[in-house]
Symmetry: C2
Amino acid sequence: MTKGAIVSRDEDFPRWYQEVVARAEMADNGPVRGTMVIRPWGYGIWELLQAELDRRIKEAGAENAYFPLFIPESFLSLEAEHVEGFSPELAVVTHAGGKKLEEPVVVRPTSETVINHFFAKWIQSHRDLPLLVNQWANVVRWELRPRLFLRTTEFLWQEGHTAHAKEDEARAYALLILRDVYRATMVDVAALPVLTGHKTARERFAGATRTWTCEGMMGDGKALQMGTSHELGQNFSRAFGITYTNAEGVLDHVWQTSWGASTRLIGALVMGQGDDFGLRLPPALAPVQVVVLMIKEEPAVRAAAEALVTELRAGGHRVRLDDRTETSFGRRSVDWELKGVPVRVEIGPRDLAEGRVTVVTRHIRQKENLDLRAVGVAVGPILSRVGPELLEEATKARQERTVDVDTLEEAIEAGANGFARIRTGALGSDGEDRLAAHALSIRCLQRPDGGLAEDDGADDGADDGADLIAVVGRSY
Amino acid sequence: MTKGAIVSRDEDFPRWYQEVVARAEMADNGPVRGTMVIRPWGYGIWELLQAELDRRIKEAGAENAYFPLFIPESFLSLEAEHVEGFSPELAVVTHAGGKKLEEPVVVRPTSETVINHFFAKWIQSHRDLPLLVNQWANVVRWELRPRLFLRTTEFLWQEGHTAHAKEDEARAYALLILRDVYRATMVDVAALPVLTGHKTARERFAGATRTWTCEGMMGDGKALQMGTSHELGQNFSRAFGITYTNAEGVLDHVWQTSWGASTRLIGALVMGQGDDFGLRLPPALAPVQVVVLMIKEEPAVRAAAEALVTELRAGGHRVRLDDRTETSFGRRSVDWELKGVPVRVEIGPRDLAEGRVTVVTRHIRQKENLDLRAVGVAVGPILSRVGPELLEEATKARQERTVDVDTLEEAIEAGANGFARIRTGALGSDGEDRLAAHALSIRCLQRPDGGLAEDDGADDGADDGADLIAVVGRSY
């Protein structure tokens, strides 16, 4: 049954997602299969997310740079696992400037190869380390089953690439990014709880020795990988010849990391925070935090609305005046709900005659009739509630759908509806295959207390250690 | 003769440019011909430029969005002049996902076609107008004679695209962008004087009815086109079927603009502000505004340097501590000069014993011996001087190389060394051909007082009006 202007989540979650993205004017499908147009409402969210991530990346010491979109095809094949992982998804330019190219160039699916080509030039001595670089860029991975924001042929992301003198420094940096950049942004800014852990060998990034991940649970109980931070060991430094002279004058290969988060996070916001009436935005990621909606075009209404907009902007909030009174009030209310604007103030002539307006708090759909003079002061505390309450709600929903199990059979049953936590020792040697047969996978490995298994070596053996917990679920 | 660490501008301007870009660690050539790596110093300048442009674009009412990198080949051919202009420069993806594509896709050289495809969907009524969209993106134009920042196969830019109900509204918006976004950023932020005017039909953007331009004069007297704002008339709206119902219920095609500025502006900063010792950055675009340089690693030196860094940061300046005392002081001074950091504070044990430090103002290379306690207060006023003084110097240099002439022969002589201003009536019908034979072109058309010829129609005839001035020069 349709409660709002869109299908309900329970009835058809994938269709609900599509309808929210379309009706909130967040994105459209591009003309080339799998590509995406990010419309101003979606892009406004992305700009806020970018700023939050970028600030934390810079605090972690990395500097932004930009590397080319086009990579010689030969570069890709230098790291064996990497080329195997990405070859099927590559887009290849064979003609340019009116001629056939002597060597085809690939459109970057990720930039390890071209960046490490330059790291080999720039790094000579231990004084050049650590080298910490990040870039904001578009990347292309040909997708057969595209889905707006979640899986698109072209997407926007940041990718960090670093080189360190020692293995433990590389690991510490990969974890710093995981915790202080990714988890912090997801939890503190996007109000989305995430599990952190590392991937099994099967789920690892092509070319990494260890992949650390943030995994969120979406509104349908499925997992979404929201950001990953990889230890690359010396795989790329050996393939690309990135060496440095240490303080003792001895030549060694650097230890590396890479890490990325993308426009997929916008999909996570929709699926993790949305309700049957559309998107619900935490104020930190809301392009408009308060919309002041004029019900009718009348001088008193306009005067009150404009004064309130000025007052709220002076209070540091992002505010929009909706004076499109030629469109029905109901239609506009529904649209702002769909777009997830945290607070809506409705000003109409009847209430205003009594000095009152209606304030709607979007995430709980609570309507209050307030004295107009009190609204300017009331909005701040309402906005402060939204993030923590969304986080609490999502955390509770995840807990309700997470089960501790003892056997693989139980994991298969519980994983169909949410997350199953199982000791890695109980998985058996063919556990991942058997999970895969049920469209399930190990989303991450953790310590029993949910902590990161930091002290294990990066070698495969540790992944199967009986003392770890595997979080099993369906995934996007 | 080499004055600094690099060749002098007079001796070999192109080599000087290359050396500044390389030695200041701004950019490198990419592995695929014509592509570019923008290193952190260059990218830091770009981030500041982006922020300045972005703020002004938003103030002009445009919203950011993102459109796909890949465009179906067939889209390009819909507007005849556009395809003719861009075809020779296209990069074409013929294979993807391991297969040959049924229809090849081009990598966007600019996004008029794909954006207008969506404008046709989004625009129905006069209520949807004006539609004002901007995107920050990479674009690709295959270059045979690439040059870092100035002309690269891939470059970063913003491109704005708008649709309006009336022709005069479109023109007013194109001019708003030219003046309040581009010229304001170039003059007030980059301290680069620019001439504004419109292009002749020969120099116009492929598909535009009029191209407005900002033209700067570089240190060698050559012109650089630094930003353009186009009136597109109804060329694209007819090709893509972008119609709207006006208030009277009648269907009409929209009137459009597009406008762009790119990483070429970084090249303009180098060539417009640099001297024989490297780059000179206006503080608004300096990733580091003040570098505090420890001459020796001694406790007193470090304590003084760190305290000063803290004090200057508290004053709102971007400050870096250079404590790399394992590298010679001279080498580091030269490097910071090359990078163009506006103010350098040198702290060494000998001076410090007397409570004094050396403050170097980069753009005039002036050294002052100041009381350490006075530096924190002295830096603000020094930084305030830099922009206006650079602008004054560049304006004076341009004036000295600009000549009013009466005949084409004189324009050819004067244009070889700077700008020649000539009445369009004196050009003759083959004037542009004759200029081209001397590697000269008309950079822009202006009113005799330097103002924009706003009231002329967008038709070709007006370009040749005898009452306009043609600015003739060599160009990048």
